[in-house]
Symmetry: C2
Subunit: 454 residues, 2 copies
Amino acid sequence: MDDANLSGWGPALLSTDPEVMASYSRDQSRFTEHAMPVAVLAPRSTEEVAEVLREAARRGLAVVTRGAGTGLSGGANAQRGSILLSTHRLDSIVSIDPDEQVAVVQPGVITGHLRAAVLEHGLFYPPDPGSVDSCTIGGNGATNARGLCCGQYGGTPDFVRGLEGGLADGSVMRTGRRTAKGVAGYDLTSLLVGSEGTLGVITEITVRLVPRPAPPTTMLATFGTLAAAGTAVQQLTRAGTRLSLLEIMDRTTLSAIESMSPLGFDTGTAAILLAQSDDPDSASQVTLAADLCRASGAEDVAVSDDGREGDLLLQARRLALPALERLGDWLLDDVCVPRSRIVDLITSVEDIAAREGLVIGVFGHAGDGNMHPTIIYDEGRPDRRVAALRAFDQITARALELGGTITGEHGVGALKRGWLGTELDASAVRAHRLVKQAFDPRDVLNPGIAIPGP
Amino acid sequence: MDDANLSGWGPALLSTDPEVMASYSRDQSRFTEHAMPVAVLAPRSTEEVAEVLREAARRGLAVVTRGAGTGLSGGANAQRGSILLSTHRLDSIVSIDPDEQVAVVQPGVITGHLRAAVLEHGLFYPPDPGSVDSCTIGGNGATNARGLCCGQYGGTPDFVRGLEGGLADGSVMRTGRRTAKGVAGYDLTSLLVGSEGTLGVITEITVRLVPRPAPPTTMLATFGTLAAAGTAVQQLTRAGTRLSLLEIMDRTTLSAIESMSPLGFDTGTAAILLAQSDDPDSASQVTLAADLCRASGAEDVAVSDDGREGDLLLQARRLALPALERLGDWLLDDVCVPRSRIVDLITSVEDIAAREGLVIGVFGHAGDGNMHPTIIYDEGRPDRRVAALRAFDQITARALELGGTITGEHGVGALKRGWLGTELDASAVRAHRLVKQAFDPRDVLNPGIAIPGP
């Protein structure tokens, strides 16, 4: 351990102990690189964040910011010679305002804690990434996180009104507003949201809240063919059903769930749809949804307005990833396609899985076309690693062909940086580099992440 | 007329005739400067826009982009020696997709035309600026326009999914996506939306649509005191009533309306609230709203689920500006405050009006705190002009004091450029300049507009 690492960082220094640093050195992604940082810093205030940024600038060190490390694209992986700035000590809910329906929070607040705190004021913060009980609001903002609730409500970017952020030069900038509307100047808030630590370090977030919704009504529908499930999604969209959640799972995922925890799905089931409405008239919304599923060829349709029964119906969705994880090492992908092309994507994934000799389960948010093909492989077998990566690339390419995007909610990070230049045109790639240069001329904030490489 | 102006512009050249150019040389703002452009260009395609931008760069001319010229902050005013790029020939609705609920449109499409076109597909485009039947989607995007419908739905920025834009160097960039979600790279779409022609020229917009809502139920409530109206707004917010519209008008505005077109408001009425819900259960939402207004001290409350009657109740809101305009020259201001501070703002405006000897009517969007104090003055009397500007500055300062913003929906333009540096901190001002420099290093796109001056 180098003494130079210990001095000068002030009270923000958490550790330079290799074991501690190792536990902060990577997120939950696969196929991304990480290295040991030179120090883990955990500032307790905006001013301490600014000091860390100034000190890093003075030493010429890269800065990687980490929330809870639940990311899936390598955006919080420490880099060789970088410092690792953890936001976990910045964990105060600064204020909750029921009249303006906003909360002001520090970045290290766990998303689930914020959701619980605002509920006590009769308010609701909808974004609920899969890791909602461990991920942080700052990480959600930096990566543009979303979740199950996003069909009707939108994701993190739709809820962030304003930010405070530390910039590469150690200055602190406030963006956005507290009011419901405001158009004073460029929308730098939206620019920072989703910039994955490459433009600044979020030190405070102002999020809007909505009134606490009604208790939900839930529906589960099974389909004998993928095409019928696709028709149902189309009919639900066209009818304008107000669903707070609409999830799809394919045969592979269902079969993995049945192996782990038999829920009684027929082996002939090609896909299921799970829907929920928290509308004041949720019962009639879900009844309409159930009718449309039946008319589209659903085999079984169950509806419940009982909270506990609803949770049971949703259980299958919660088991999707744990069930697939049991089958081997996994690479959880994240693409988004137009809702009308979900079936095309799943069919293509089935073809790719067969061709590569892999198990790939698809589940995801049918309400917005955001699918999570989950590739199961054997990390210990180099040929299987290569096959997994090949499948990953083929799925990403197919999503683009279908008019989709390479990432719906997990972000670009290190994992998809090579793909970003394929989705964007040359002029947009150039604009990314110019924006990065404007905010971070010496390329110290999360270098090599999120923006297209040369 | 200089021959040099006529050659080289290609088919995009509309006119160099002074009379024609004069009609394109300014928007509807007051107290902003404008000059005669050197030419009015009206390209018919993205490629023609790019050619105009390249030719302007070659000649070293500034480019001011204009939609329908309905702006209220001088953002589309021609500048000395600039060309004026009008988008009115780019007026195609490229596609409407009922499955993905998106429309792709050229910037010159009239907002009202888009709204009518998507209704035929059972879809709804909510943003409805006051000028909805004459303003353009491109202008709405460039200025971040909103309108009456924004309490529940949000404004233009909440509906733009992707853009195509011509940049200062004549290249064309695509940003954003067509899918419901997508987080690939920086949110350059939001950066361009609201940038008032200073970063690029919007050549195509992809907007999301929502299902056509239910027929609305409407409420009008009158209040004897401003405080009672403020309490009602607070109660409506806290109760989470789902209102698609919630407008407030003050005594001065009501009195101007009564003078023009007597609707029978009592002279003791200090304020009215107008509410509308287009929820599936709009009747119960508005009944709840009416009960809350009565409990807050409303004097008369009228509710109707009849379309024609609802229109009659809304008539007062539509007459607000025309009625105030009859009283003299007018300066329509636009500030946004937290909803709980609307009454404080209106009270302050009353004080300012008394002090300056001016009539200032306040009406606006109570659902989001966006108020439009409208200053009536006599353009022919220099002292009254000065008083009007003084009142304008005092109102803007008061909005900031109350935790609000200098502009809720009209944009910064030329009118409020001097104020932007007061709302933003030094670091944010610097970030604005750096972003501008990154996109437009030679400062040719709407120079001197929207971003803080030195």
